[in-house]
Amino acid sequence: MRTFQAKPSTYMNPYVAGIGLGLVLLLAYLISGRGLGASGALMRTVVQAEKVVSQEHVDNNFYLSKYGGDGQNPWHNWLVWEALGVLVGGLISGASAGRLHLELHRGPRITARQRLLYAMLGGALFGFGARLARGCTSGVALSGGATLAAGSWITMLCIFAGAYGLAWFVRKLWI
């Protein structure tokens, strides 16, 4: 398992990648009249799973029923198709760059098992926060940020503030 290592970078220049990403995002607005996203697709997958267990539970919850109430297919949605594309795009890039290996990335001071635990915990916090903020870094910070939506900029700043604010206290995870 690789941890932190110094090697010649095969990554695309971040400014170039950013411009590329920005052009894709611009096309999204010009063609489909909306931006990109990610957390919404995961939410719809959660609702899909809950429908299998109890459609009644979904129907009785105002938040869940928005996505999958009463005959609605949560996956019949622009964002879900986009997320599938993200999976494919990531795969294509990883394959072409030789970055397709079973790996676990962590800081040098924690074990692999700890990393997986924190990945799940961090992911859970992030998922909760994303629904509370009505979107994640892709849907709110990036897309909302590009359209200069006021609330999106506030959320973007808070994401950075929260991460930077806690970084020192959880530094053992990464450095």
Partner: protein, 203 residues
């Protein structure tokens, strides 16, 4: 003329296929930047690798400039594109929680999806955790105090609101200042990487 979905009125399936293709581009550039790797993402918050900031703001400035230019040329009706609604307090608290989740877990949903596809086991756990967190949110949000907080709108700073509308200026004015901030940020980012990661260890 733009957005095309309104002027051309294409079928829903066409729109979904377009979504897929755009997603491929999105995932491609995320992975190209190395964002499938959690440790690279986390290094942003120790000032050792500022790629997250560089990619995000390069993208924001690119898209923003395109939207403003197309609009000022009369090619794009900004009223027809989706602008994320503003809910101040849920946005603040949700953002902070996301920040905590990001530095603890090392991923956000988009990057985690890319990580999963490049076989990062920790990304898989991040996605599973993410769905768990969303499940919990949906169970809690019907509770009166949480639902109230979730839907709380602040007088004068709510709904469909852009920074230029809030400031009462033309979009290009805000765009200009955002570009200045971005460039200043890029200069600071280059300085920070040199200072905190002098051996230029690329993750």
């Amino acid at each position: 003329m733009f957005p095309l979905v309104d002027t051309l009125g294409f079928a829903e399936l066409t729109d979904f296929v377009i979504a897929f293709v755009l997603g491929v581009g999105f995932g491609f550039f995320l992975e190209q930047a190395g964002f499938g790797n959690a440790d690279k993402l986390a290094m942003q918050f120790y000032f050792r690798d500022m790629a997250v900031f560089k990619v995000m703001f390069a993208a924001i400035v690119t898209t923003m400039t395109g939207l403003i230019v197309f609009s000022s040329l009369g090619l794009l009706d900004l009223d027809l594109i989706y602008i994320n609604p503003t809910y101040l307090w849920s946005g603040v608290v949700g953002g902070l929680i996301m920040g905590f989740g990001f530095i603890i877990g090392g991923y956000c949903p988009g990057t985690a999806l890319v990580g999963v596809m490049t076989a990062r086991i920790d990304a898989v756990f991040s996605v599973l955790g993410g769905m768990l967190g969303m499940f919990v949110f949906a169970e809690l949000v019907p509770l009166k105090p949480i639902m109230t907080f979730f839907n709380l709108e602040t007088e004068g700073f709510s709904g469909r609101l852009t920074l230029w509308e809030w400031l009462g200026v033309k979009p290009g004015v805000v765009g200009f200042f955002v570009m200045l901030i971005a460039v200043a940020g890029f200069v600071a980012a280059e300085w920070a990487e040199r200072k905190f990661n002098p051996k230029l260890q690329e993750v």
